[in-house]
Subunit: 595 residues, 2 copies
């Protein structure tokens, strides 16, 4: 209920989703159909996913050497998800989908992430895999693999990492030998493959990065292959096993319900693989999906942040303990702990982090919709540029800050929060994966500063700052937000200065020096982005309060959280900006032997 309230605010009030319904692509949808879909998702998540989240965590998947075993509730849940048509929510009618805006699809996903992220992982990965094929696969491949994924009969995976090459894809060794029939034989090992094996679907469609012998070295020699677990007969039905073997399950701290696997391809001579698109372009194809996956990671992290926030908020209202500091009468009744200042601090921080993160994710989703409905190629390129710039933040801010939020949710519960009787410790464990997978936070920092900012000479950054400038201009006109808007402008100036200094360093001293503190840059820029997001939310709240539509507590909460962000969070970038501007050399000059 709370989550739906929040999502409706974001979709309709902050991001003006109604405008989308006026476009021909989304003309069949309106506010009612979207709210209906959100209600369905809410109910399904609550009834079919949430009830067994703790049980799934306590009973992680097992492998008997033959098959993977999951508790039966997972099958029931994913079946219900498929039956509701949510697999195809974002796909076009022509592809068998519901052609819903991506922002609505993300909002739908968030209910399942909040309820039971590990169980939801199976359909989500499949949606991502199907989307990869939608853009890059042949019509034949789409018919054989994408459609069954959208129908929920086949599930999908992405196979990038290898045991010896986690973040360093240049070093992957999986080989793809061309055959006379146009197929390839794949041999190699893939590590950390989520949903890499299970019995939930008729087939599993692996999307595998591999190198065709004789191609260029490094990332330029990587190609993308479809490698199904079961080969298909002419009618497209799964028949015998392909040469893909589950070598083992990884046993994780959290996120336990999603199988995480080591897969061996070609132990018996080579798994049959089908080349997607052109040879040696696999990384580019995968990266389009990777961006989506990164935003998906941010979504999961934000949803877990919200889940923990809501749980601890409820706990803080229900649980009585202690009394006001000025109340010296030990016989007066204890108060709900939400009345203690430090508990309120912990709730405010969670609100700022998790609602800020979710809003950013939905904004990124809205960009995909704008891209879809844009009229010109130039417009589309602009939107892509903006989305590329924001993707590392959409991945990392929710991941880093919503783990902190989950830690605060534990702290609000005190000792109870540390027990497995309450969901918050599980959120905390599940969420801790998010700063790692689909590119660690460190990788996101390099991507942002090296590729997205300095890589185009600051062009994307400058344009984004122009966009933020429109918001600050509006906010400066309102006395309630003027100070915050000015603070955000100062942050922009600071980031501009730093970026200039780093750009010069890159030219004069090379990338090591310029990128030495890229993770700090990511954090500083992330706070700036979230500041913009909070200003937008506050402007919307003021508008609605002025219109007198009710729900004042909710809207005042948005204003209070915005204030809190600008007083408590944004100033933290000051000391970090100084380190960046000074090109602090600690991470370069400290010798490994000193550590």
């Amino acid at each position: 209920m709370r989550l739906r309230r929040e999502l409706e605010y974001q979709l309709f009030d902050v991001f003006g989703m109604d405008d989308l319904f006026k476009t021909s692509h989304y003309a069949d949808h309106d506010r009612n159909t979207i709210v209906g879909a959100l209600e369905t998702a809410e109910k399904l998540a609550e009834e079919k996913f949430a009830p067994f989240a703790a049980k799934l965590d306590a009973n992680e998947p097992t492998f008997d050497g033959e098959k993977v075993h999951l508790i039966e509730e997972v099958q029931e849940a994913v079946d219900a998800y498929v039956a509701a048509g949510f697999m195809g929510a974002g796909f076009d009618y022509d592809d068998g989908g519901m052609q819903m805006p991506v922002i609505a699809c993300q909002a739908i996903l968030s209910f399942f992430c909040a309820a039971n992220l590990p169980a939801a992982g199976y359909p989500f990965l499949t949606i991502g895999a199907a989307n990869l094929e939608r853009v890059h696969a042949s019509e034949e491949q789409k018919k054989l693999f994408m459609r069954p994924m959208i129908e929920g009969r086949f599930f999908g995976t992405m196979c990038l990492s290898e045991p010896e090459a986690g973040s360093s894809l240049a070093d992957i060794r999986t080989k793809a030998e061309p055959q006379d029939d146009g197929t390839y034989r794949i041999t190699g090992s893939k590590m950390w493959i989520s949903a890499g094996d299970h019995e939930l679907s008729e087939n599993i469609v692996h999307h595998v990065l591999a190198k065709i012998p004789g191609g260029p070295p490094g990332v330029k020699g990587i190609s993308l292959f479809i490698v199904p677990k079961y080969l298909l007969d002419e009618a497209g039905a799964p028949t015998q096993r392909n040469d893909v073997k589950l070598a083992g399950l990884n046993h994780k701290m959290g996120y336990r319900g999603t199988t995480n696997t080591l897969l061996n391809f070609g132990e018996e001579g080579g798994a049959v693989g089908y080349l997607v698109g052109e040879p040696h372009r696999g990384l580019a194809y995968m990266f389009q999906m990777m961006n989506e996956a990164r935003i998906g990671v941010g979504m999961g992290a934000a949803a877990l942040g919200l889940a923990g926030y809501y749980a601890s908020l409820q706990y803080a209202k229900d649980r009585t303990q202690g009394r006001a500091l000025s109340d010296k009468d030990p016989q007066s009744p204890p108060v709900p702990i939400i009345e203690h200042a430090d508990v309120k601090r912990m709730l405010l921080l969670q609100k700022v982090y998790s609602e800020g993160a979710m809003s950013l994710i939905l904004y990124c989703a809205s960009l995909v919709d704008l891209h879809e409905t844009a009229q010109t190629g130039e417009e589309k390129r602009e939107i892509t540029r903006l989305l590329d710039l924001l993707t590392p933040v959409a991945k990392s801010y929710p991941s880093e800050y919503c783990v902190q939020a989950n830690s605060l949710a534990i702290q609000v519960h005190g000792g109870y929060g540390y027990t497995r009787d309450f969901p918050v410790e599980r959120h905390y464990r599940d969420n801790r994966l998010n700063p790692i997978h689909e590119g660690t936070t460190g990788i996101q920092g390099l991507d942002l500063l090296g590729r997205k900012v300095l890589g185009d000479g600051g062009e994307a950054l400058t344009r984004f700052m122009g966009l933020v400038g429109e918001t600050t201009a509006a906010a400066k006109a309102n006395p309630r937000l003027q100070q915050h808007a000015e603070a955000l402008e100062q942050s922009a100036a600071l980031i501009g200065d730093i970026t200039k200094a780093l750009g010069e360093a890159a030219l004069k001293e090379g990338p090591e020096r310029a990128l030495a503190n890229a993770t700090l840059y990511l954090d500083v820029f992330g706070q700036y982005v979230i500041g913009w997001i909070w200003l937008r939310q506050a402007l919307t709240a003021l508008r609605l309060l002025g219109a007198g539509g009710g729900d004042e507590d909710y809207l005042n909460g948005k204003l209070a959280a915005c204030d809190f962000f600008f007083r408590w969070e944004l100033p933290k970038i000051g000391p970090q900006a100084l380190l960046l501007r000074n090109l602090d050399p600690a991470t370069l000059e400290t010798e490994g032997d000193w550590l």
Copy 2:
């Protein structure tokens, strides 16, 4: 090996432990005996505790309704610990102990904390309980209960919290009815009791806070009782069960090997309890032990921080992946990941947090030794005042920052760190308890600002700042450290300003207003304390480098970490100080309904 190197540096070089050997109390010890004890502890921890840490985590204690079951390795480990005489390390010869300085005892403990904190919990809690009795119990009680604890035959607990009164001891309901024979009958429930039941020892000696009917309300009516699991015969041997029942085990995220229990006292009419000291003074007695327990929590947190640091440092040196950013040849060999700037950042942060935390804990321990050997009552009072001031920092800084360190240790490992094949995820889960138990971080903030700083009109703070001033004066004389010393002086001035403003607010507007951001104050003051600690370590390193005794890598590491702290960490207090000085009202004025 690494930990022992670190401890020897702290004990002998930074804190000048050799001086203690000149006092009559510790005259039997010298550097050789202490190093010998450290070596024994290191070996024992490595051979008897570390090997089953993962197994104990995976096989948490169970209760069959009759008895608690632990994996058998725990018994072997605690037996070996007892056999080595470590239970009595810090107790006087007269009490059956080894009369070792407390700083050495803490150093010994740290090996076991780093190796297997949950297993080490049993002896540690017993040492604390025995120490409580040493100070407050009667000779008869000491003979019956303390001596068997020091001998390792009985184990001990502290029973403070109740299900409805976690941090709020004023509200405890456990009752103690006086009997004609001078004993009491205890009835009530105690929650979160660590090591509250097990079969590791002949008996368990509970130390229970309860209220004698007719006493004053609130904390002034709390008394302390010894309540053994088994009653003793005249010879002091355990006989029949006392009326104490295990009502259930708590199932935790981490720290799983230490049973955490709900105990029911008096279900069958009343557990036999023996009053310690005078009626209604129980809280004061317990608080003396609580201070020790809080420093013990900080020790555990710091040791886990170091364990994670060492594990991830080794991993970063061994694991190769990727190459230098300026190396565009994908065929050049991958480098150890320690060469990547962001990995170095994560290692430096861990070093700063965990070595800083450990050094602070050992400093606090050294104060206990100074107290023991002080010549005058005035000296003793001074030392007590200083220790009281620093205790909330010693509890909270390691707890908060070493959880962060453990998170960074996971991050250095990438996906591997998230699996249970590596110890770092376990450190992270175990350590997350430390900001909660023995008084949450929020409680520590109130204790520091309300009781320790404003409570004595800033007297203790002023004196501590004087002590820090001696260090900064010495550091200012050294060009290598001059800037850091000046930064620390500025921090002192800032904290002085804030404290004055908060003191005035307390007078004019009451405690709610002054203490609204006490957790922030704790963090700001904690960074100041740790800055002092790092300056001391750096001064020592410079002295040793000047003397040319070798081990330059290690000493350069200390200087690099000190630099890193002053450039990367201390400046973070700036924005927080501003919130404090402005008496930021967010935590008071944000209404609960807005959240």
